[in-house]
Amino acid sequence: MIENRPLITFLAHATIILGIAIVAFPIWITFVAASHDAVRMTQVPIPLWPGDQFFVNLKIALTRGLGGAQGPTAATLLLNSLITALMIAVGKIVISMLSAFAIVYFRFPFRMGFFWMIFVTLMLPVEVRILPTFKVVADLNLLDSYWGMTLPLIASATATFMFRQVFLTIPDEMLEAARIDGAGPMRFFWDILIPMSRTNIAALFVILFIYGWNQYLWPLLITTDSSLYTITIGIKNLLNSAELTPEWNIIMMTALLAMIPPVLVVVTMQKMFVKGLTETDK
């Protein structure tokens, strides 16, 4: 610190604590609502302090079908979210690494053409091409499938740029040494490039996992089979049914379950998360 001004330091702490309180308040309310029984959650004013029904609600949310007995349970929805988030994150990383490898380490016709094709995808977010992309997925018979939910989101310009950047910083001597040792391109890729970009892969994984987990519009369009719904769609359906049966304790418990995995990833892998954010977006 430059100068010692206790009052200003105190003010800084107070402002941040207030900021945190405001930012965290919605989550607190969610947690409180998830720990009371349904009756208490219909009485105004709703409680601000947790009740004792947390585990009861947890059990109901995880085992009872959403929207009727035959509907999928939150456990199923969470599993679907996990599968699609992993497919999106892993898929993006794999295809981006492979294309960055080709673009950096090979000289071949249309190299820059391919690069620009990948670049242009930046300007085509799924929201602006929903209807025709939906039609493509329908024509390929991929509606109501994990592939349909993930493949159209898997191309990644930012991930490709990031790996290209990483590969460019790897010294040329590595390749020369590998070649002297008789390693072919794929051997070089496996034994040198992948280990050397480990931290970047981890950082990107954090960002992409959250991106995949939080997808909403696309899975909503692709799935009609409720056993394939993701947790984000489940929340929306619960909100719709809240008009008739406002079981806010179960809704908020499901919301809590939906936010725990990505929040855990961000908090536990905070360094990787910050690295991933600043490196893919700068």
Binding site: A24, P125, V128, A157, F161, I210, A258
Partner: protein
């Protein structure tokens, strides 16, 4: 997130290839194939379809189509609903960007002063980033539910009549707040990184010259983080334009009486609910133009930052 801009060096082809590289073979084609196939099938083909369809009019049964040149676009820009959605989107995204950036800037300026506990504070501030837009919507709907909401209880107590399901302005305020809330974490991280990269000696020199904390912020720190602020402005606008679909679908579905129907929501609604293919395609094309524009703006900024 629609993604970041292309790094500066990308435009200098010579620097993109390793000096030492592998012998020509079929392998590089196989390596780029997965990404390129997905790009063509799920990006280029649908985008070109949207472009093509935006010039067509289809009858109600989908039996015949007619090529109508720019009629869909002309109709679009003469439609008061569409123009209204345009205006609304501008208001919505600028409000979201302003609130999210301003709160983050204040918090970052404070955090920058703190030596002890800074990491803990950061941890406690960043996690809303991980929450899905549709979830953010659900949380805020619950807090502002006309009958149960905790804030509505407080608002009623001080004599404010709150029902976002009937009052369009209140609905708009609510979707802005929920969307901005989620974005504070992101802005905070970038602001704090920018502030911490300012050389301490610069700030110390100003302090020796007698500049107080506020003066140092307005004359040194703020001007030096302008590039970051500009970058964040673009990112926040892109976020508000395209990533807030979930917030709106969870909270208001574009209502009441279209008061919160922003462009992305309208494309979805007209295409999937209204089944107006030509109109929806034309709207997609307009949105594409907006993304391209924003990406170009982002680019130019990066270029300047490199020279800076």
């Amino acid at each position: 997130m629609t993604g970041g801009p292309l790094p500066h060096s990308a435009r200098r082809n010579e620097h993109m290839l390793k000096r030492v590289h592998f012998k020509p073979s079929l392998l590089p084609f196989l390596l780029v194939a997965p990404q390129i196939v997905i790009t063509i099938v799920f990006f280029f083909w649908p985008a070109s379809q949207a472009l093509y369809q935006s010039f067509l009019v289809e009858d109600a049964f989908g039996l015949s189509t007619e090529f109508v040149w720019f009629d869909n676009f002309i109709e679009l820009f003469q439609d008061p609903h569409y123009l209204g959605a345009f205006q609304r989107t501008a208001y919505f995204s600028l409000s979201v960007a302003f609130i999210a950036m301003f709160s983050a800037l204040v918090l970052a300026a404070m955090a920058d002063r703190i030596v002890r506990g800074a990491t803990t504070y950061r941890t406690l501030l960043i996690w809303p980033y991980a929450i899905a837009p549709v979830l953010a919507g659900a949380l805020w709907v619950f807090m502002f539910d006309p009958t149960l909401g905790i804030f509505v209880y407080a608002l009623n107590a001080i004599g404010i009549d709150w029902n976002y399901k009937l009052n369009g302005d209140q609905a708009m305020t609510l979707v802005i707040l929920a969307s901005a809330w989620k974005q504070i974490a992101y802005n905070f991280l970038f602001f704090i990184a920018a502030m911490q990269s300012i050389p301490r000696s610069l700030i110390e020199a100003a302090a020796i010259d007698g500049a107080g904390p506020l003066r140092r912020f307005t004359t040194i720190i703020f001007p030096l983080i302008t590039p970051t602020s500009f970058f964040l402005l673009v990112v926040n606008v892109v976020y508000a334009f395209f990533d807030t679909f979930g917030v709106i679908d969870a909270m208001t579905q574009g209502g009441p009486a279209n008061a919160t129907q922003i462009l992305v929501y309208k494309v979805y609604y007209d295409g999937f609910v209204g089944l107006d293919l030509g109109g929806s395609a034309a709207q997609s094309v307009v949105l594409m133009a907006i993304v391209i524009l924003l990406t170009v703006v982002q680019f130019r900024f990066i270029e300047r930052k490199v020279e800076y």
